[in-house]
Symmetry: C2
């Protein structure tokens, strides 16, 4: 079993390296969005691509076990999207992402969003070739998640505390969530936002724009 797992991870890493090389050549900033189910990743993505689409090339790869619902929501904004159904799989892999790219525009100098399968465990270990994993934690989930799922918060460079509009109605401490996340990953960044009300969205968009600007240089 150990040998099999090593083979899978080594093969995934080769495909991830190939994706990363392609992103570097094209000056693409690729971000891998991870979270538990229901954190609001797709709603956040819809608002995000609507804000960016006139300004910079954007596209989305959607991962779910079944259905093409999320890709349909993105495509309704006019932004290209490709759905991967993982079937029994609990995470996207780099090989599948590479093939999804064949169905999307070239995105020279743009941003590729990869929305992973809703799962706080499996996607942590699979490099897709992205520049950063971004973990979305919603205020309805409790602030203990970074301690319970440390691998994911260690693998992510940015934490989005989504559904900030519900903070008055839930027992959730932003300070505690950030302290727990930094216990696992001392330099993780954190943005509190609400895809619904727009609060904090400008900081998230500024982070995306700055990262995309960096990816374009010397590409």
């Amino acid at each position: 079993m150990v040998q099999v797992e090593q083979d899978i991870m080594a093969a995934n890493q080769r495909y991830a390296d190939a994706n990363r090389r392609l992103f570097a050549q094209r000056g693409i900033f690729a971000v891998n969005l991870v979270s538990s189910p229901g954190s609001g990743k797709t709603s956040l993505l819809v608002k995000t691509v609507e804000a960016l689409k006139g300004e910079i090339p954007v596209a989305v790869i959607e991962g779910d076990q079944q259905t093409g619902l999320d890709a349909e929501r993105i495509k309704a904004t006019g932004v290209p999207a490709w759905q991967i159904n993982t079937g029994k799989g609990c995470h996207l892999d780099a090989h599948g992402v590479g093939h999804a790219l064949e169905h999307l525009p070239e995105l020279q100098g743009g941003i590729l969003f990869i929305e992973n399968v809703g799962n706080l465990v499996c996607p942590a270990g699979f490099d897709l070739g992205e520049a950063h994993k971004v973990v979305v934690l919603s205020t309805t989930e409790g602030e203990d998640k970074p301690l319970k799922y440390p691998d994911m918060f260690y693998a992510s460079d940015l934490m989005l505390l989504n559904k900030s509009d519900l903070l008055p109605y839930v027992d959730f401490s932003v300070e505690k969530a950030e302290a727990f996340a930094r216990q696992v990953h001392p330099s993780i960044k954190s943005i509190t936002l609400s895809a619904r009300t727009g609060q904090g969205m400008e900081t998230w968009l500024a982070w995306l724009r700055a990262a995309a600007a960096l990816a374009r240089i010397a590409a």
Copy 2:
């Protein structure tokens, strides 16, 4: 011996984590410049900080086995610098960098340059808390270095091919150097430049400005 090495690396990682946390809190972009001796790192740094100093807070930590010559060259530009002498050590470590920070200004939203000891082996394994290692390879050194010192080129996210003004006089192929570097590290970026003539400096400065902008967001 194995146990001793593990202890040293684990201790270094704890100090590196602390440095990285401090950089994140202050919105500092920290870059760790590595190369063989004589690649022109200090001359490049002098030109770099001269270009940036009116625009953004900058400071430099210099690492050498002996002498304070490099820090003196930086300080002559009016930019704060602190020299670390490693004695018999062939690389900087995160603990030493943490103490050097006590002698430098806070640098809120700025760029910290760490010039490592000239050595293409030892510094590769030591995280200092930097955002990126940047490897400087000069055109007089031959384009085979990425293959001979793969750990360093794997650890570095950007390669600066320095002394481009000497390209007409040396047997050095930029294409081969880049191909070799990408063989080791598929997504490594590459900028060809000359600290002496200024060729390519604007691309390097643009990369630094974009990375510093990213570091400031959500800090």
